[in-house]
Symmetry: C2
Subunit: 327 residues, 2 copies
């Protein structure tokens, strides 16, 4: 249908090889005159390079693959933005596939698609891979990296926040403001992230010689509803005077339910949330947050994926406390 290199060659009276070289801007292989002629004809023929053919013959692709969770956390947007920005800088395309948070079969399907495509690298965003899929990924020889997911073992290359520090600093912030009874809400403690944050929380409490009640910690999956439910469990007369929300949305759930109960924030209940997306700024009172550097996770992750020498190194992106109206 569309024009090929051969059509151009014919029209220009040169070989396909020369056309290929001109179009790929290989230096020193042709005269200025040929180049101009070839380029002009290419344009006039509406020529578009066939990427499949190029990838087949060069055996490498200009694509990086991203696997993200279908039940998207609202922070993944920023990570993806970062990935795209960095990809564009390198002239790469991004192919994105959704996979369920805990659906090994969907994960496998997504992985295979990327492997068949022989992508340049694979970024796994906020998803914990099933063991067999991790093995599949590793067997593929394709460079990969986890973003915003850390594993128990540090052997897997990742870019994420230091979740222990997140838990610790959030708690510390509250303790400094005089709170002794601090709740922790909507964290999934079956995963490494949740465990680390709880560990950080406990460390800060113990260091301040504060005791911890088991039911100050309400588990969840980081959702808005988990926040609401947790606050309902605390009730109208919560024992705690401050709460750490596992995500901005969870914290907003806590906030709304607290307001529903007529509890004043921050006067009667302080709230700090983890993530620091724009949501924290559009609610009232605005939420104090432990802000993560999501955009940087995306850019840095992409860079390190492309850098052969860095392939196995894991790294933390910085976090910071942003004090607003809720503490």
């Amino acid at each position: 249908m569309s024009a090929t290199i051969k059509d151009i060659a014919e029209a220009a009276g040169v070989s396909a090889a020369t056309v290929s070289r001109v179009l790929a801007n290989k230096e020193g292989f042709y005269s200025q005159a040929t180049a101009t002629r070839v380029r002009k004809i290419a344009v006039s023929l509406d020529y578009e390079k066939n990427t499949s053919a190029v990838e087949l013959v060069t055996r490498k692709s200009r694509v990086i693959g991203v696997i993200i969770s279908a039940t998207k956390t609202n922070f993944s947007d920023k990570i993806i933005e970062g990935i795209h920005a960095e990809a564009i800088r390198h002239g790469l395309s991004v192919i994105m596939l959704y996979a369920g948070q805990n659906d090994p079969q969907l994960q496998e399907q997504a992985l295979r698609t990327l492997i068949e495509r022989a992508v340049k690298g694979i970024l796994v965003v906020a998803i914990q891979l099933a063991d067999e899929n991790l093995a599949l990924l590793q067997a593929s020889q394709i460079p990969y990296r986890f973003l915003s997911t850390s594993y128990n073992s540090n052997k897997l290359p990742s870019i994420a926040s230091d979740d222990y520090q997140i838990g610790y600093q959030a708690t510390q912030h509250l303790i400094e403001r005089g709170h002794h009874k601090i709740g922790l809400v909507a964290m999934d403690t079956s995963g490494h992230i949740g465990q680390q944050r709880v560990a950080g929380y406990k460390a800060a409490m113990i260091q301040a010689a504060l005791s911890i009640e088991d039911d100050w910690i309400k588990e969840g999956m980081y959702t808005y509803e988990d926040g609401v439910r947790a606050m309902q469990t605390f009730g109208r007369q919560p024992e705690v005077t401050a709460i750490i929300g596992a995500s901005d949305l969870a914290a907003i759930g806590v906030l709304n339910q607290a307001m529903q109960y007529g509890i004043q924030v921050p006067k009667q209940l302080a709230i700090i949330s983890i993530d620091g997306t724009y949501l924290a700024r559009i609610v009232r009172p605005q939420l104090t947050t432990v802000t993560q550097a999501f955009y940087e996770m995306g850019t840095l992750g992409t860079q390190m994926l492309l850098d052969q020498t860095q392939q196995t190194v894991s790294q933390f992106t910085p976090i910071k406390i942003e004090t607003r109206q809720s503490t």
Copy 2:
């Protein structure tokens, strides 16, 4: 590096053609025995099909391309979710490219990447293409469709809401609640969407024999900040008693600034917003919205892209008013 069809053929003692047929599940071309043997060897060799080669020879790809705005509106998430869901149903991959809202060069780059890849179809989400890029897209012969963008001419295939109706119904809702002075905030009237909504707004006002002041309409680009600024212009003693926000975020901007002024919502000022994403439900008071069917835009758009007979038809997805606490 990795195993090819030839390696399998050799190991199985059959031809590459047979392997190809088995692996593609072509019926009636081989004995059950051969098939099982070939499949087993394929697995043991960690065989992964080379998509480039397949696409090159079959001259069609299993990929659909999506171009979205880099300055993402928060509703595009839902559209993209819909696209992915439908793509997975059809065994297709999705390649996503960001392009600036008004950067013709980035648009062209994104388009060319997709065209070179000979994708099966192109979905343009919430972006207005520059004329020359539209021409490029059309010349490519690749099926395409605009999502959540309607053009002046109805000649371009799109899936979107009826923006005239959005403007009309939002206004109508307010009028029914006794409002006579109604503001319209953060709409970009340089685009078709904004123009249609304003037209719907005016029609409803005129039909109710209400007059319209020019400065009840505050332009903007649908952002949170536009909402805040608009409310600042209305001031502490706004002439209007109700405001239509061009997006959920814009409406939240209005809401927050109004609360800042000590204006009570909805008692002193009613607010209705357009979009109806989850944001409307997590703020207090919850926002009444004209809710758009974004997820359906994604699924329907993808379906129609794949359906040859429907390629030129444009369609509206339904809208509905969801009454909450702000009106």
